[in-house]
């Protein structure tokens, strides 16, 4: 079974680098331009992991995670968060309150992001 990864960022050229790397590793990768679009894509097709930026138009990363946690079917979706912010966000706080698995600072390494995605997906119980 091919794992599905949803990448969400309004800086499309940048997230395409991650898409390229992750796709090459054999995952099924989708891209959303903002939180609202990501939410609609999740409704239509549930990914195995979400990687989202914080600052985005319409619905930002935190708003998206909050919405995911409010719905039973998306409550347990693993989330990795990307941020270009300096000190306004704390990984511990995000993990404790919203179950965000990790906070990855921009600029990020596509290789490092892929490894983190792999680790998290490996932890998941294998479906039937």
């Amino acid at each position: 079974m091919t794992h599905r990864v949803l990448l969400c960022d309004d800086e499309i050229p940048i997230i395409r680098a991650a898409e390229f790397k992750i796709k090459k590793a054999g995952y099924d990768v989708r891209i959303a331009g903002d939180g609202e679009e990501a939410w609609q894509m999740i409704q239509a097709e549930m990914p195995d992991i979400l990687v989202t930026d914080c600052q985005m138009p319409r619905l930002d990363g935190l708003g998206l995670v909050r919405r995911l946690r409010e719905h039973p079917e998306t409550r347990d979706l693993p989330v990795l968060m990307l941020t270009a912010k300096g000190f306004e966000l704390s990984a511990e706080e995000l993990a404790r309150r919203w179950g965000v698995r990790d906070l990855i600072a921009k600029p990020f390494s596509p290789k490092g992001l892929l490894e983190r995605i792999r680790e998290i997906l490996h932890e998941q119980p294998v479906g039937p």
């Binding site: 050229p13 680098a17 319409r58 270009a84 600029p107 990020f108 390494s109």
Partner: protein, 495 residues
């Protein structure tokens, strides 16, 4: 005086002895013969005469003594205790004659009085000195109190029992003390700021004299959040031998740091925004460089694509740095401004030429509606061109494909006005005020175009600070915006 007195005494005593002798002799003669009456009467008369003389002498002596005593006491009564001095006392209080029965008492009384007068005079000096000191201290106290009262810095002082001994009006206002009388009331009961109460209280109990300080936020009374730096110092016990002896309480002086705090916050926000704006293109560069380094791009086309993204992101970073530097230079006033009388329309036409490709790429109709008049402005050509380009490219960025952007110039009274009108997304009431803030980007429109949020603040600086004009915006959400620049005119010629 003294010898005559003794004579009187001698005569009096002698008379008394003789008269007593005569009476005794007469009585004895009577008993013996009871004879010659005449002789007996004669001797009786002599005896009585002698006794009378003695009595008269005694009475006279009594009278003289009384007069001397009365004079003595009258002198005492008239004495001025302020003026009595030991060296002149003999002339002021003549002593009684040595034979006078009160002479000894009078001498002791006089000595005692002189001593008392001296003590009285000493006390009076001391009292005068104290009075002067007291008046000085009162004046000093009033002056210090007036100074403390007039100070804008809040000041609170406590005694060793944590009771307030001073709270100036500024302290009352800032700390929200509504009590009229603050003296002798517990600090804790008057002030709710826990940090301040604890700082003062612990400082008061410390052995060391050096001051301690902390930052406190009192219940917000100002827009800046009521931040104060409080410096507390222990007061030495008054009257202690050791000047540093504890037990005098403590005093706290508060300094308003609201503005500093606000500045720090704005600075932190600014740095955060800059780093965020820089990290985004950096993220692109780093990610694609890593892909290239790892040999992920297997064909030439992919490699070119990656290099294209890297170049675009590097350009974006460069633009950001240039804009930042320009803005910083302008804010610091180090930009070399070369102002001269120039034709505005020429500058505007040049700006139109610069942005035309961007408008064409989005099929935006770029309308030039420039005044046929010569509009002279006293301006720096490069800077004003930059401002016009920023306004135009901003309009093109936030106008959907197929829209229209109009550049208009007019003469209005003695001023020159040019405006950029678009049929774009428009601004909300709040955004209208905030678009000129550094790094502010309208959230909902961020995905429409790339930007640093520096173009409009830069234009505003150029127009207002460099050229003494105004840059304002009028907008209807969803319909479009008009950014208008008004500059002082420098004469016009009909073309």
């Amino acid at each position: 005086m003294s010898s005559s007195n003794n004579r009187y005494n001698l005569a009096a005593v002698g008379s008394a002895v003789l008269s007593t002798g005569w009476v005794v002799a007469w009585a004895a003669g009577l008993l013996i013969d009871g004879g010659n009456w005449i002789a007996r009467l004669g001797s009786l008369a002599v005896g009585l005469a002698l006794a009378g003389t003695a009595a008269a002498l005694w009475l006279r002596r009594q009278a003289r003594e009384q007069t001397a005593a009365r004079r003595f006491f009258e002198t005492l009564n008239r004495l001025d205790p302020h003026a009595l001095r030991r060296d002149t006392a003999d002339s002021e209080i003549p002593p009684l004659e040595s034979g006078h029965p009160l002479a000894d008492v009078a001498r002791r009384l006089r000595d005692g009085l002189i001593e008392l007068a001296e003590q009285f005079q000493d006390l009076e000096h001391a009292r005068n000195a104290t009075e002067i000191r007291c008046r000085r201290a009162t004046t000093e106290y009033e002056r210090v109190k007036a100074i403390l009262t007039s100070l804008d810095e809040p000041i609170v002082a406590i005694d060793p029992f944590d009771e307030v001994i001073l709270a100036n009006p500024s302290a009352k206002e800032v700390l929200g003390i509504d009590a009229e009388q603050t003296e002798d009331r517990a600090l804790r009961a008057l002030v709710r700021c826990e940090t301040l109460v604890n700082l003062l209280s612990t400082t008061s109990r410390r052995k060391a004299m050096e001051s301690r300080s902390d930052e406190i936020q009192v219940p917000a009374t100002t827009a800046d959040g009521g931040w104060y730096r409080v410096t507390a110092r222990r007061l030495a016990a008054s009257g202690a031998v050791d000047e540093d002896a504890p037990g005098g309480g403590a005093v706290a002086v508060l300094r308003d740091i609201g503005e500093t705090k606000a500045l720090q916050r704005r600075n932190a926000e600014f740095v955060s925004s800059v780093s965020h704006e820089m990290k985004t293109p950096l993220a692109g560069i780093k990610a694609y460089v890593e892909l290239l380094a790892d040999g992920e791009a297997e064909d030439e086309q992919t490699r070119e694509e990656f290099c294209g993204v890297i170049t675009a992101q590097a350009d974006r970073l460069q633009r950001l740095v240039e804009n930042l530097l320009n803005l910083a230079r302008m804010e610091a006033g180090v930009v070399k401004v070369d102002k001269d009388g120039r034709p505005l329309n020429e500058i505007l036409e040049e700006a139109l030429g610069v942005v035309r490709p961007a408008a064409e790429a989005k099929q935006i109709e770029l309308v030039s509606d420039l005044s046929p008049m010569y509009l002279g402005v006293f301006a720096d050509r490069d800077l004003l061109l930059q401002a016009a380009i920023n306004l135009l490219s901003n309009a093109i960025k936030y106008t959907p494909n197929g829209g229209r952007v109009t550049l208009r110039s007019r003469m209005v009274d003695a001023h020159v006005r040019f405006e950029v009108e678009d049929t774009g997304v428009g601004l909300s009431e709040e955004d209208k005020y905030r678009v000129f803030e550094k790094f502010y980007r309208v959230k909902k429109d961020k995905d429409m175009a790339q930007g640093t949020g520096l173009g409009l603040p830069l234009a505003k600086h150029i127009v207002e600070d460099v050229h003494g004009g105004t840059l304002t915006v009028d907008s209807v959400l969803g319909k479009g915006s008009t950014f208008a620049v008004v500059l002082p005119g420098s004469g016009q010629i009909s073309s």
